[in-house]
């Protein structure tokens, strides 16, 4: 299957850039060539909303686990950089440790909870399984988000937002915010490297000193951020930008980048399917009590094994 189709923006640089594998974005990398690019950015946005919000209607951990697998499979299909997922591993583990530690040490008081006596401690089945379900809900949402940012450039995101009729000024502010976040991280790295170059070894520092150091970073970072804000403001002024979006001659503002993308039949079909699934999941959960924790096969099995009514 050809990865590049006419729905993808065509520019003079496309051929040259395709000799490389990844595009750098302010928040990571995206593949230069991907089957995802056959779809309009707005379709990809709908997929993101679907994968990111549908877990809120689903409290069956198995289904959320399946959604994680779906996201991973889509990443693989979309030629996303799966090696990049390693950076999320500490977060995934830390969140699990945090959630389960809290629920084991402070399960709450409820006479209906079923105690399970382990060798040294007693845990309660219901809050632990509830946490297990919540954890997989969180993972499903996270993997949907990672999929989106691994297969969409900032420009795609802005085109998608404008395609759903978000006012230009709002999409522009979002774009600048994404940019600011990237530059904030860049500045932070520069300050850290400058300190290391002058012999600061943070690993040898006590935790309390490290915390103080991080607080001290805020001063230069915010002063740089303020200066950049002024520079961007000047740049916008110099290029005739007005908050109202008014353009010279009073006509309608043209959106050149959006004009490079076209919504095709496949986009319409994909959007209809995604919206149907989304609405179906929402209605099933809200009105018919489907996808609740008691529907979980694992929950049913464990309750049977542990004789929990």
């Amino acid at each position: 299957m050809a990865a590049i189709t006419p729905s993808e923006p065509v520019s003079t640089s496309t051929q040259e850039i395709h000799t490389k594998k990844m595009w750098k974005t302010l928040v990571g990398h995206v593949p230069i060539s991907s089957p995802f690019y056959q779809f309009h950015p707005v379709t990809r946005l709908y997929l993101f909303v679907f994968l990111g919000v549908v877990p809120l209607f689903i409290f069956v951990p198995e289904i959320n686990f399946l959604l994680v697998l779906v996201s991973m499979a889509l990443m693989l299909w979309g030629r996303a950089d799966l090696r990049g997922l390693r950076i999320y591993a500490p977060m995934v583990v830390t969140v699990a440790i945090f959630m389960f530690t809290v629920v084991i040490l402070a399960p709450g008081k409820d006479p209906t909870y079923t105690p399970l006596h382990m060798s040294l401690i007693t845990i309660y089945y219901q809050p632990v399984f509830f946490t297990f379900a919540a954890y997989w809900r969180l993972m499903a949402m996270l993997s949907g988000t990672i999929l989106y940012f691994s297969t969409n450039r900032e420009r795609d995101m802005l085109v998608a937002l404008r395609a759903v009729r978000l006012p230009f000024v709002a999409s522009y502010v979002i774009g600048l915010s994404i940019r600011a976040a990237g530059m904030f991280m860049e500045d932070f790295r520069t300050i850290r490297e400058a300190e290391q170059a002058r012999g600061l070894d943070t690993k040898a520092m006590r935790i309390s000193d490290q915390v103080k150091l991080y607080v001290m970073y805020l001063v230069p970072l915010f002063s740089i951020a303020l200066r950049r804000a002024e520079e961007i403001s000047n740049a916008l002024f110099a290029r005739g930008y007005t908050v109202t979006g008014r353009v010279k001659g009073g006509g309608q503002r043209r959106d050149y980048i959006r004009s490079l993308y076209a919504i095709r039949t496949r986009d319409v079909i994909a959007i209809v399917i995604l919206i149907s699934l989304f609405v179906g999941a929402g209605i099933s959960n809200l009105f018919f009590n489907v996808f609740v924790i008691t529907d979980s096969p694992l929950n049913i099995y464990l309750r049977g094994v542990l004789n929990i009514p």
Partner: protein, 288 residues
């Protein structure tokens, strides 16, 4: 030729400083001319060009006296859109002026503000990509290219809007020698086309002198000298006192003239070719 910029008795003081940054500046800039602006640091060069493109007084607070007219209309009375239509500005730090996610968007942004239709945007995009040689960068992030490329993108984004006046504030200050040469080549092409009034603040005196129709020296917030390059550099000692060093070839000829080796009526050379020519003619005369 008509004057596109007329400044009269301009004084400006930033609200957070005690001294006036500009003190009674008066000057006129002709249409489609190339004005090279020089001066030591903190003498008022950037402040002056900010007054022409309207950042002062629109985006800065302070005391403003006098008059700055662009195309016969007071800058104070023009809004951002009108000013951007008339005056384009390339900042010293190209990255500080980027607001988009790809080079292509960066170029299109100003044109969208100008109300260009899509076919015009496409046409301008092709033209600026060609003139600034950035055709292979359009799909890239403007933060992910080299310093020289960033500056070319910054120039292209202003050029694409096609303002009749283009101001550049030290466009080569943050780039390597090859990148500088690229920028000066672009400036040369623009000058030869004679379709824009170019006001360029630059420390590379030699390159600037060879391009400028008028050289402007700003010293302590005042116009210390404004003249065609040959006249401007005729007294290098005066310039040195104000923190400016003339091109080496000019200095060389000036010293020989002071020593009586060159006649007092020669025009000091501004570039190497001119210097060789003058020196050769003097030597030929002596031999004959």
């Amino acid at each position: 030729m008509s004057e596109v910029v007329v400044i009269q008795d301009l004084e400006w003081k930033y609200s957070n400083t005690k001294e006036f940054a500009l003190r009674g500046v008066s000057l006129e800039i002709e249409e489609n001319s190339f004005v090279g602006v020089v001066g030591a640091n903190e003498q008022g060069k950037t402040t002056l060009i900010s007054c022409i493109n309207g950042l002062i007084p629109h985006s800065h607070h302070g005391v403003y006296r006098g008059s700055v007219q662009v195309f016969g209309k007071e800058v104070r009375e023009q809004d951002a859109l009108e000013l951007a239509t008339n005056v384009g500005m390339v900042f010293a730090d190209p990255e500080s002026q980027f607001t988009a996610m790809t080079v292509e968007e960066e170029l299109a942004f100003g044109m969208e503000n100008m109300g260009f239709d899509l076919s015009k945007i496409r046409e301008q995009l092709d033209w600026v990509s060609d003139i600034t040689m950035i055709g292979d960068l359009l799909d890239k992030s403007p933060y992910d290219i080299s310093g020289g490329q960033k500056q070319r993108v910054a120039i292209a984004s202003v050029l694409a809007m096609n303002p009749p006046i283009i101001i550049m504030d030290e466009p080569t200050s943050m780039i390597d020698p090859l990148g500088k040469q690229f920028i000066f080549n672009i400036l040369r092409r623009l000058k030869e086309a004679r379709e824009h009034t170019l006001i360029v603040v630059e420390h590379n005196i030699e390159q600037l002198a060879s391009l400028s129709d008028q050289m402007l020296l700003i010293h302590e917030g005042k116009v210390a000298r404004m003249a065609p390059p040959a006249e401007f550099f005729d007294d290098p000692a005066y310039l040195v006192e104000r923190g400016i060093v003339a091109p080496e070839v000019t200095e060389f000829a000036y010293r020989l003239r002071e020593l009586g080796q060159f006649s007092a009526d020669i025009h000091l050379p501004l570039d190497l070719d001119n210097g060789i020519e003058i020196t050769k003619s003097v030597l030929d005369r002596q031999h004959s």
